[in-house]
């Protein structure tokens, strides 16, 4: 059920990572309905910026607190929408459509697999949500987050995961934290036998990835080479987010074009083509 909302903002906090913020808003229905992989489309228009960028912009749900009725997103400042969002204060209104997304992450918390989240940049928040959801349903599930950035101070989105019992592997280009290298360098050892075990999904790893396209492509191809199931959450630009513009398409392996907003954003890696 998609809703058009004007929710009250509860807090906007700058993170240590420069230009990054977390924003929490009050919306009990969204907090209740949102699943990992869902997103909202924010329209941050003020009298001061009317007309400059006219489209809404999508942001993944990062956290939900259904009891308190709160939802949180994490964003980095680029253009008009995120610049405006960074100026919001508690009590201001957040204008959004949501929860959006036709196909979200599909994880079975009870399955005897190693759930491996691989993220980069603002791709990490939905994986955080997924990791916590799995752990909440099955505290003994084995869940790992591998996330990367150029440097340690740019790693975002790991909030509360350690406490939830998720193993965290950081990868930094400059080696300032964790593995020096890319997320695929962190991922490869987890996919090699013996962890993959007897092969196939059961007992092996299930990979969920979200982040910059080149990263997701590398992750998807690595997984496919290891016969490991992998779900990718596409972050193509989404002009409408609700299936009416057909501008967000992904070319699928069968040659057809799929709307990432309503047919995705999450796809099995095997369905995706990479240009």
């Amino acid at each position: 059920m998609i809703r058009k909302r004007t929710a009250t903002i509860v807090s906007v906090q700058a993170l240590a990572a420069p230009g990054h913020y977390v924003l929490t808003f009050d919306d009990p229905e969204t907090a209740r309905d949102a699943r990992p992989g869902h997103f909202i489309a924010v329209g941050a228009t003020t009298p001061a910026n009317a007309g400059s960028s006219i489209l809404r912009k999508p942001f993944s749900i990062y956290k939900v607190d259904p009891d308190a009725g709160l939802c949180t997103i994490l964003f980095s400042v680029y253009g008009p929408t995120t610049s405006t969002m960074a100026l919001y204060k508690p009590g201001d209104k957040l204008d959004f459509l949501g929860p959006l997304g036709g196909r979200v992450f599909d994880a079975d918390p009870q399955a005897a697999v190693h759930h491996v989240m691989v993220g980069g940049g603002y791709g990490v928040p939905p994986l955080n949500f997924l990791a916590k959801t799995i752990k909440a349903a099955n505290p003994s599930a084995k869940v790992t987050l591998i996330y990367g950035a150029r440097s340690a101070n740019l790693l975002v989105g790991d909030d509360g995961l350690r406490e939830a019992g998720v193993e965290i592997i950081a990868c930094t280009d400059d080696g300032s934290l964790g593995v020096k290298g890319r997320v695929t360098d962190g991922l490869a050892p987890l996919l090699a036998p013996p962890i993959l075990g007897a092969g196939g999904a059961s007992g092996g790893a299930c990979v969920y990835t979200c982040g910059p396209t080149p990263m997701m492509r590398a992750v998807a191809e690595l997984c496919m080479a290891h016969n490991t199931p992998c779900q990718v959450s596409m972050e193509t630009p989404m002009p409408c987010g609700i299936g009416i513009c057909v501008g967000c398409v992904l070319k699928k392996a069968d040659g057809t074009f799929s709307r990432t907003c309503t047919d995705g954003p999450v796809y099995p890696a095997t369905e995706v083509t990479w240009q």
């Binding site: 059920m1 998609i2 809703r3 058009k4 329209g43 007309g51 400059s52 960028s53 006219i54 489209l55 809404r56 459509l97 193509t236 630009p237 002009p239 409408c240 609700i242 299936g243 009416i244 513009c245 057909v246 501008g247 967000c248 398409v249 992904l250 070319k251 040659g255 057809t256 074009f257 309503t262 240009q275």
Partner: protein
């Protein structure tokens, strides 16, 4: 005090003067959670072609200053898919349906028009002779005689109201509108998108895979308003005006310029309820300014 918002587009009656711009509102069902279609003046659905079309490869859209460029390439399931899969949802609502029809030959247009008529799949047909995103002569609206040819071919096979959708990408839109009217068009809708492109200076590529696209949104409103004004001075059939309408004030400007109805296009991407809210806003404007009928606004600026 109640004001009259009802207008007629040929034999079609619209309860409010606001419809949707084809291609900016899908086939109605996408927004089922949000929009009660019976509150629209009419629903104009996405382009429907004779055969299924896959559309253009991505990237298909990008933002520009106060605008959007698109090169969707008429992705759709084809006319039979429309009749089977899309129509039943639409017919649940008490609202006229306008089907937007592109084609590669007059015969294509006539074929789809005939199927729509036979199946009761439309209450009016909008001839999309002006899409800038597809090659091979689909752009009939650049020439008066080609425009007339398509309108006449469709007129011959249907009694449904025919709306010719024209292109702003011409030296003079007036003779083209006149040709459409003379060939039997019951209304003119304008404007389709303005052809343009965007370049990514960082990557040194076009931003769209198709290289060029059609510009829509507030950036083109001055172009659209002038097209409406000029065509209104030229033809006697009603005009459906569109191009950059974001709110009721914009819509009133189009009515004042000579449009009988308007379409909410790109704004649907921001607010799928726009066509309903704009109709309410027009009613407000009428009341606040002491009018009782939307017809008092139509063409009032000369």
């Amino acid at each position: 005090m109640a004001v009259n918002l009802e207008v007629k587009i040929g034999s079609l009656t619209m309860r409010t003067p606001v419809t949707t711009g084809s291609g900016t509102f899908g086939f109605g069902s996408e927004t089922k959670d949000l929009v009660d279609l019976s509150k629209l003046g009419a629903v104009c659905v996405k382009a429907t072609t004779r055969e299924r079309r896959l559309g253009n490869p991505p990237a298909r859209m990008c933002e520009t200053a106060s605008g959007v460029l698109n090169a969707i390439g008429l992705q759709n399931g084809g006319i039979e898919n429309y009749i089977l899969e899309k129509l039943p949802y639409l017919r649940q609502f008490d609202v006229p349906i306008i089907v937007n029809v592109p084609g590669e030959s007059p015969d294509d247009f006539a074929y789809v028009a005939r199927r729509l008529t036979e199946s009761g799949g439309a209450d009016a047909i909008e001839l999309n002779i002006s899409c800038p995103n597809v090659s091979h002569g689909l752009d009939y609206a650049t020439q008066p005689h080609l425009t007339a040819e398509v309108v006449a071919a469709v007129k011959a096979v249907t009694d449904l109201p025919i709306i010719a959708k024209l292109s702003p990408n011409v030296t003079d839109i007036r003779p083209i509108a006149k040709a459409a009217e003379d060939a039997g068009a019951d209304a003119i809708s304008l404007i389709n998108t303005v052809i343009g492109t965007a370049i990514d200076a960082r990557k040194r590529t076009f931003k769209l895979a198709n290289k060029t696209g059609g510009l829509s949104g507030p950036a083109i409103k001055p172009i659209a308003l002038l097209a409406v004004y000029r065509v209104a001075q030229t033809v006697n059939v009603p005009i459906i005006g569109m191009g950059g309408i974001m709110n009721a004030t914009d819509a009133v400007e189009f009515l004042l310029a000579g449009a009988t109805a308007v379409a909410a296009g790109t704004v649907n991407f921001v607010n799928p309820l726009a066509a309903i809210e704009i109709a309410d806003g027009i009613a407000d404007y009428l009341e606040k300014n002491g009018f009782t009928d939307v017809h008092e606004l139509i063409g009032a600026v000369q």
